[in-house]
């Protein structure tokens, strides 16, 4: 077996976990110690103040006549400033979703989480945000039975006193019965 009929030898020494565990291969460890404080900026700063009040704000671009969420102070399509804050709904529809058993560090979770892209009512078509779905079941089978693309949802907020001006001020989006099809 060759990559090319002219090449016969392939460099590389694959290691097994036990090579390291049994000390046959030496390693050096380093742990990152870093902290950051990110300024939320003009657009997201206002967006997060809105979340604290239980409101979701987008920005209107006069060049494209579209309301964008997440908001930005410029329109990346026509490259002009956006000019106006517009409160959009805290209801919308599921554009796509998945069911996660993997945590951010690749460790496994037995409790599924349901990330989704939600197109918010009042924003221009296709302007979605990523968030989580809730109240949709505890098992994969149940979640797949209950969640559909296009399904109407509503934001479930933290109690006002607990809000911090962060995306997590919305706990999740839940199915909205009677939201129509």
């Amino acid at each position: 077996m060759n990559v090319s009929v002219h090449i016969r030898d392939y460099p590389g020494i694959p290691l097994k976990d036990r090579d390291i565990a049994e000390g046959r291969v030496l390693t050096t460890e380093w742990r990152v110690k870093a902290r950051y404080a990110w300024d939320t900026g003009a657009a997201l700063g206002r967006f997060f103040r809105g979340l604290k009040e239980g409101k979701i704000y987008g920005r209107w671009c006069p060049g494209c006549d579209r309301i964008v969420v997440p908001p930005r102070m410029f329109c990346e399509w026509c490259f002009r400033p956006t000019v106006r804050w517009v409160e959009v709904g805290d209801t919308g529809r599921v554009n796509t979703f998945s069911v996660s058993y993997v945590n951010w560090d690749a460790s496994r979770s037995t409790v599924p989480r349901v990330p989704a892209v939600i197109e918010l009512d009042g924003a221009s078509p296709g302007m979605g945000i990523m968030h989580l779905l809730g109240e949709v079941g505890d098992t994969l089978e149940e979640i797949l039975r209950r969640v559909k693309v296009g399904m109407p949802v509503r934001a479930v907020w933290k109690p006002p006193a607990e809000r911090q001006g962060a995306i997590t001020d919305i706990l999740y989006f839940a199915p909205r019965p009677g939201g129509g099809e």
Partner: protein, 390 residues
């Protein structure tokens, strides 16, 4: 497009793909670069400039990784440049190599791609977290698989594609990978659709056998001007077209069912290559396949079939190694492994070997004159395409 030199690839090298390599990144670079130079019959002193592709520094915990790897890649006291567009880097580096030579600045350029993902503990997945928006996405616990699962589900929903059909990509590529001498241990194999679909659900609809592994490896190619190519080889493989394109990082504002940016990258490469009907003029394809659905998604973006039609080509066996349009005859990322930047360059190397008729057990059945390698990356937003021909 005006440029001074036609550009040929004249040699390629590849290390083994490994879950964890004993070698450092520098050592892997050295091995792949030496192999490519030997294959081209060139000496290190013939190399006038070096291009390096390697993905996020945070994998290695070494900032300015490009500079740290330079010595291993033969970049010592030479014009040296790092190409970095995440997963798209391996093919992007070949595009950089192309315009180094096409511009007339250099006659001989070494392009090296390296990834050593195993150093990051407990798992390099954690390093990916730094890619996502720190205000809107990270606080929700996002990981790489979430995003791809969202895109895959959107693609499935829009076209009504069953999971079992997408699993056929894994079946095909993992089988192809059995003939690749560098394939990572435990990655290629004979699998059934049931085994692929029935493997661990990581982030539905993505199961364990529909996602490529973590890999350490390096790859390299040598790119030269026409005058050098004619002197050193009877079998130059010409760069016929290059294309790249970036979409918005506001990915939740895009319809993920179709990679428009891949289409624009492909159109740029096809225009340059004079290709008007890619479905008939491209003979062999290495589409980027870090996830099973991505191969199909990318075939559509590359205009090799209509939107939503890639699954049909797959089901009919058209994309098999003995089919009319072989896709990922190497085994791809699903069948060989996924050392991010080196995986993209492995795809270019595969097309090089296929067009020279040197691919041995992996050689596709049909005669091949024109091939395409594509990679994809950044925040699901970049397409990089190279069209090669003999």
């Amino acid at each position: 497009m005006g440029y001074r030199n036609r550009v040929a690839i004249v040699g390629a090298g590849l290390t083994r793909f490994m879950r964890r390599a004993q070698e450092t990144g520098k050592e892997l670079c050295f091995e792949a670069a030496r192999m490519a130079l030997d294959a081209a019959g060139l000496r290190p002193r013939d190399v006038e400039a070096v291009v390096m592709a390697t993905a996020p520094d945070v994998f290695d915990g070494v900032h300015m990784k490009g500079e740290s790897l330079a010595d291993g890649a033969g970049g010592f006291r030479k014009p040296y440049m790092r190409s970095f567009v995440g997963g798209g880097s391996g093919v992007f580096a070949v595009i950089h190599g192309w315009y180094h030579v096409a511009s007339g600045h250099f006659d001989t350029v070494l392009v090296v791609a390296e990834e050593k993902m195993s150093s990051c503990l407990p798992h390099p997945q954690a390093a990916f977290n730094g890619i996502y928006d720190q205000f809107l996405e990270r606080p929700l616990g996002v990981n790489l698989l979430w995003i791809f699962a969202l895109e895959m589900n959107r693609y499935m929903q829009v076209h009504g594609i069953p999971l079992e059909t997408i699993a056929l990509v894994s079946v095909k590529n993992k089988k192809n990978g059995l003939d690749h001498p560098c394939a990572q241990e435990g990655i290629p194999g004979h699998y059934t659709v049931e085994e692929i679909v029935g493997s661990e659900v990581m982030v539905w609809p993505v199961t364990r056998l529909m996602v490529s592994p973590v890999t350490d490896a390096a790859a390299a190619v040598v790119m030269v001007s026409e005058q050098v190519a004619k002197r050193i080889t009877d079998k130059p493989v010409w760069v016929k077209g290059v294309g790249w394109h970036l979409d918005s990082s506001y990915w939740t504002n895009r319809d993920l069912y179709y990679p428009k940016y891949v289409e624009y990258a492909a159109r740029m490469a096809y225009d340059m290559a004079g290709i008007t009907n890619p479905r008939r003029e491209i003979d062999v394809v290495e589409a980027y396949d870090p996830f099973a659905y991505k191969e199909l998604h990318h075939m559509e973006g590359l205009l090799l079939c209509d939107k939503g039609e890639a699954p049909r080509l797959l089901e009919k066996g058209i994309t098999a190694r003995d089919g009319e349009l072989p896709v990922c005859p190497s085994g791809g990322l699903l069948g060989v492994g996924n050392p991010i930047a080196a995986a993209g360059l492995m795809k270019v190397a595969e097309i090089f070997w296929q067009l020279r008729g040197e691919a041995g057990a992996r050689q596709v059945s049909r005669p091949v004159r024109t091939g395409l390698a594509q990679a994809w990356g950044d925040l699901m937003q970049v397409g990089t395409v190279v069209v090669l021909g003999v």
